[in-house]
Each structure stands twice: as structure tokens, then as C-alpha cells.
């Protein structure tokens, strides 16, 4: 799991993003396996959205792969009264944004990509530290030879 301090940094980033972009009604960072890392989504159940994000991500990765379009970058879904946008955030997290229908989608993309990259740096750096735990911590021994990241990896 991502340490508490980094989770707070991610939450700060989400809150700054929401303050900066008008008509952005929610933002959440999730691991690629659907667990919430940090969220600022008033009125929406973050756990459910994170889990569905992981499901949509799975399909998206297979789709970009099948169509030969490289690794997953972003996903935009439009409903009758707003948008849901998901951006890749490093190797093991994604950023999902909930926006009102009147949002400036061009701006949503610009801010979402930038923020996704920033959150990706935070999460990847945190995971790199967790990979080399301090000897005092009583963690069960991990099998050697496999990458022992806390979050499962998806092919990118």
C-alpha cells in the first residue's frame, strides 16, 4: 500500500486540481487493481468508482493493445449529464475525474494529463521506497525473483 504521507500528497494534488478546474465535481486516484489511494468526490461513493475504473481500465488496455495503439493513456466517457475521464498515472495508478456536462473538455484533458503524471511520480516513488522496506518492519518474507510491489502490475 502507498504510505500515508504520499497518500496525503496525492489528496493535496486532487484538491488543487478541483480548485483549479471549474465544473470538476470529483477527483480520485486509484491503483490499477481498483483500490482507492485518495479521493475528493463529494456525493459519490469513491470505492465503487475506483472498482469500476479498474474494470474499464482492463477493457481499455486490451482495446489499445488489440488495435495496436500502444499503452493506455486516457479514457473519456460521456453520460447524459456529464463526463467521466480516466488518465494513466505512472505504472500502477490511474486518475479518474468526474465533470459536469458544461466542462471545457480541452482544459479537462490538459489538467488531467498533467495531474496524472504528477500523481504517477508520487505513487511510483512511494512504491519504490516500499520495495526496500526498513529491516525493523515485520513484513512477511517475499519470494525473491518476482517484483514485490505492493500493487499488482498491468502491462503498459
Amino acid at each position: 500500500m502507498v504510505p500515508e504521507a504520499e497518500a496525503r500528497d496525492v489528496l493535496d494534488e486532487l484538491q488543487r486540481l478541483r480548485a483549479r478546474v471549474p465544473l470538476l465535481s470529483g477527483a480520485l486516484a486509484a491503483s490499477t487493481d481498483g483500490l482507492v489511494l485518495a479521493h475528493d468526490t463529494p456525493g459519490v461513493e469513491a470505492e465503487g468508482v475506483a472498482a469500476l475504473t479498474a474494470a474499464a481500465l482492463g477493457v481499455s488496455i486490451r482495446m489499445t493493445d488489440a488495435a495496436g495503439r500502444g499503452g493506455f493513456r486516457e479514457l473519456l466517457v460521456r453520460g447524459g449529464s456529464g463526463y467521466i475521464a480516466t488518465y494513466a498515472a505512472g505504472s500502477s495508478a490511474v486518475l479518474t475525474l468526474l465533470a459536469e456536462d458544461r466542462i471545457n473538455v480541452g482544459r479537462l484533458h490538459l489538467e488531467g494529463r498533467r495531474s496524472g503524471a504528477r500523481i504517477g511520480e508520487l505513487v511510483d516513488a512511494a512504491l519504490a521506497r516500499v520495495e526496500r522496506p526498513a529491516p525493523a518492519r515485520a513484513l512477511p518474507p517475499r519470494p525473491t525473483g518476482t517484483p514485490n510491489r505492493a500493487l499488482p502490475q498491468r502491462p503498459t
Binding site: 466542462i103 471545457n104 473538455v105 480541452g106 482544459r107 479537462l108 484533458h109 490538459l110
Partner: protein
């Protein structure tokens, strides 16, 4: 009648001092086409940002009770002019042409006149 690409090319080549041009949908903030710009001037960023400019102006006019339409918007910087022209031809509502001019080379009156002509001929 000219398509998007031809119109952007015409703006770029026939309007003196033009360094970048974009056709933008201000309901979404995304560009339908861009030409020029470059590393130090990202037209996608400009498209999204100027969408907010237009939306703010339209909202202000609504609050003021003005039942008018925006023809164009001129923004004057130290060394550049930014010209925004809203499309009024049938079927192209919600779009605008965005023109970046080098102030030292551009003739503003001529640029505005030519952009009006390009707008009239543009068919999206």
C-alpha cells in the same frame, strides 16, 4: 466554400504576420484543427483557455441583459495580437477561429477583414 484545412492554410498564408491559427469548438474547448504555433506556443492550450474567455463574455452579456452576438474579440499583448472570430455560418454554431499575430508585422484592420472573409467561406 473551403474546408477546415484549406481555411487554416489560407489564414496562415494570406494574413500578414500570422504565427498560428486554430478552429475551436467552444462547447468542448477542443480544437478541430490547428496550424502553426510550435514548441513555445501550444495551440491546444490556447484553444482550451480562449474557450473560457468566450464563455465568460457570453455569460457577462447574458447577466447584462444584452441580446447581442459576439462578432470578434481582440486581445492586445506587448508583441502579439490574438484575434477570436465566432463562426456564424449555418451549421457551424459553437465554433471560433483563433488567430495569433505578430504585432510588428500585422495590419490589424486587414487581418480582421481577411479573417471575416475566410470565416464566411468556411464550411465545417
Amino acid at each position: 466554400m473551403a474546408n477546415t484545412e484549406a481555411s487554416l492554410k489560407e489564414a496562415m498564408s494570406s494574413i500578414e504576420g500570422t504565427t498560428g491559427v486554430a478552429l475551436v469548438d467552444y462547447t468542448s474547448g477542443m480544437a478541430l484543427g490547428t496550424l502553426g504555433g510550435g514548441k513555445d506556443f501550444n495551440l491546444e492550450v490556447a484553444a482550451a483557455g480562449n474557450t473560457d474567455v468566450i464563455r465568460a463574455k457570453l455569460r457577462t452579456m447574458e447577466h447584462l441583459g444584452l441580446k447581442e452576438e459576439i462578432e470578434d474579440i481582440l486581445i492586445t499583448l506587448n508583441s502579439q495580437y490574438h484575434l477570436i472570430r465566432l463562426l456564424k455560418t449555418r451549421g457551424s454554431n459553437g465554433l471560433f477561429l483563433y488567430l495569433v499575430l505578430d504585432a510588428s508585422r500585422a495590419n490589424l484592420a486587414m487581418a480582421r477583414h481577411q479573417l471575416k472573409k475566410i470565416e464566411a467561406e468556411l464550411e465545417v
